[in-house]
Amino acid sequence: MRELVEFLAKSLVDNPDQVKVNEVEGERSVVLELTVAPEDMGKVIGKQGRIAKAIRTVVKAAAARQGKKVVVEILQ
């Protein structure tokens, strides 16, 4: 799932080399912490969080197939 979040973020931002995804494994869920260049924040969040929501929806669908719960967090 980490690779999927990284790929989606890199596809949307202007500075793909500054995209980082950190995976924090919990007992039942995995938290994926996404960091992008400050000027790219809008590119992964969008108006009223529309882009962030779309990323979460796609990642959730992918994770469900592997029976995992995945939370995507965008770090400031």
Binding site: L4, S11, L12, I51, A54, T57, V58, A61, A62, R65
Partner: protein
């Protein structure tokens, strides 16, 4: 986009070499001749090769396919992508096993994927391309369901004389409802609320 500069004895040779290198055909690239070849004096002095720059043209549909295939790889899915073109947009109809997860609840996964795909392909291009993603005709089936629902609810409004508020829908789905009922003179439809919770309301027209 990938591009290379290649020199050869003639312009034609250089283009041919470049296309081989990029594995592209002639209509997929932009060609720029940087230097014309020069035979030189008696083939001895100032003998110069041709130099061309060959650049891959930005093809949104091709980029879209690569983007989706990558996502499907991460999801362990292998759908077949069938491309259809209409006047307004391009439709990618997907078919294959286990594609239910791509649709999601009321198509929300499909809509999210489509939204991200269109953001991606239009990022690098001035001309706006719109690609619709569909899974085995899901969008037509959903439209039929919505039209049936609209008709049923409009009957209820006429019977009871009271307004009916539908559940939140995206603009595309609300449009289907409005269009389905626009010719019915005994009712009116409008939308209320803020995105993404905007809903269609059907009211009797009694004045």
């Amino acid at each position: 986009m990938r591009s290379i500069e290649i020199s050869a004895k003639t312009v034609e040779d250089a283009i041919k070499l470049a296309l081989e290198e990029l594995q592209l055909s002639r209509d997929e690239v932009k060609i720029e001749v940087l230097e014309q070849p020069n035979k030189g004096f008696l083939g001895l002095l100032g003998n110069k090769n041709a130099l061309v720059r060959v650049e891959e043209k930005y093809d949104p549909e091709k980029q879209a396919q690569i983007f989706l295939e990558k996502i499907f790889y991460f999801m362990h899915l292998k759908p077949i992508i069938e491309v259809k073109r209409t006047k307004e947009h391009t439709i990618f109809n997907l078919s294959g096993d286990n594609l239910g997860i791509l649709i999601g609840r009321r198509g929300d996964t499909l809509d999210s994927l489509q939204f991200l795909l269109n953001l991606f392909i239009n990022k690098k291009s001035d001309q706006k391309t719109k690609i619709i993603i569909d899974v085995e005709g899901y969008r037509d089936r959903r439209a039929d369901t919505l039209i049936n629902l609209a008709t049923k609810l409009s009957e209820k409004v006429k019977r009871t004389g009271r307004k009916v508020v539908l559940e939140p829908m995206n603009p595309h789905e609300r449009r289907i409802i409005h269009l389905a009922l626009q010719d019915d003179d005994s009712i009116t439809t409008y939308s209320e609320g803020e995105e993404p919770y905007r809903k269609v309301v059907i009211v009797p027209k009694n004045n």
